[in-house]
Symmetry: C2
Subunit: 229 residues, 2 copies
Amino acid sequence: MSNLISIKSATLSEDISQQLTNAIVQGYIPQGSKISEPELAKQYGVSRGPLREAIVKLEGLGLVTRTANVGARVIELNTQDMLDTFTMREALEGMAARLAASTMPSEEINSLYALLDKHQAYLDANQDEHYVQQGGNDDFHLRIIHASGNAKLIRLLTEELYAIIRMYRRHTADQRSDPRQALREHKAILDAIANHEGDLAELLMRRHISRASQLLKQAMEHSAVASRT
Amino acid sequence: MSNLISIKSATLSEDISQQLTNAIVQGYIPQGSKISEPELAKQYGVSRGPLREAIVKLEGLGLVTRTANVGARVIELNTQDMLDTFTMREALEGMAARLAASTMPSEEINSLYALLDKHQAYLDANQDEHYVQQGGNDDFHLRIIHASGNAKLIRLLTEELYAIIRMYRRHTADQRSDPRQALREHKAILDAIANHEGDLAELLMRRHISRASQLLKQAMEHSAVASRT
DNA sequence: AATAGATAAATTGTCAACAATATGGCGTTT
DNA sequence: AAACGCCATATTGTTGACAATTTATCTATT
């Protein structure tokens, strides 16, 4: 139940940085709340030095914003920020799918087919309940991203954008997408990659993400109307 | 002649951060060189605190790499890194062009046509000599990026990727592209945007950047062969 | 002579104190 | 009563000192 996950790193700063990142993404530290240096330093049992360093790192990751002489606050994700993030994701993951289509080794492709079979079996067994893809090696999108072989693209998507997305999902009604539909789309994307059809793979991946983005937009407009009553 | 550009910021840390960024991008601090905290602190006349903070920021921007208990080094850009960066640029600027096609106000479009006329006049007057587009408001690509209206995309492209690209250009034979060809492509992109043809604008922008990427690749292979003699 | 180990120097990581700035409360003034 | 300015408090920014780790130097051994 504790939000303190003990990860022994080489330096305190790295340690705190990871713990803070986790705390923010998981929502233990709510959006918009102030990051007090003395308070957190006491809480984590370190001095302000390494803690400040961690905050600067978080700023680089886009999880907090800092104002000189005032301090840091956790970002507040509004719908526009989220749609902007999805737009970038569409462009970058589309490109990742294209790259994967030309470089992905066949054994990795087979392994991904096996993963999709596993997802299929899960849906069959759990009557279409969403499987939680929390970033592990079982996440189809992450596998494609890594298959791109573009180190900078991998870092950006997995360390920055996905943190934001996961953070957002926590406080919104989970995506009301049809998991079987998503699985079909995943399969189509993988087929294109297996056939080394980069153009098609990119197109399908973009359409897939765009669809999720549209759902998000609708959900937001809906909840905005609902909260207005 | 000094590499010290005095920018009075709210905090020393911001100040140092900007100066270091500039020094690295401009090549005053060469690639691969070690960032010594005591040395730089003395050089800039500050204590190690704000200097460390600046280094952490630079790490977030991808300009230096840090190793625990060892220190920071300026990144060394190899051809692969550069091609990876161009690949991301292709995806993101392509998307920016698409977005611009649907949101760019007509007066801004006219202003961009005027800019291209200015470039044309420059080429006519200076017998096709490259105009240096060092990131000012006269850079066509930056104008398109800003017209996308996607804040996150703007920040990533202008603050991170472009810093890397400028850094790389400094120590390589400048792009041997045909400036008239580039100008023609810019015009075609702008035409597509003016006609609100997002698909076409994206396609043309990607082709434009891909072409530059190909030239870069050839130049690299060429110089690799040349240096082997 | 080359390698391995021990010691010394230098650098990074961390801390606690001080300075500068912003925030909140109080009283005064209009 | 509201607004302005002043003062006290708290927070951030910066500094110098100390601890921990790495790097360099020197000696000893094979």
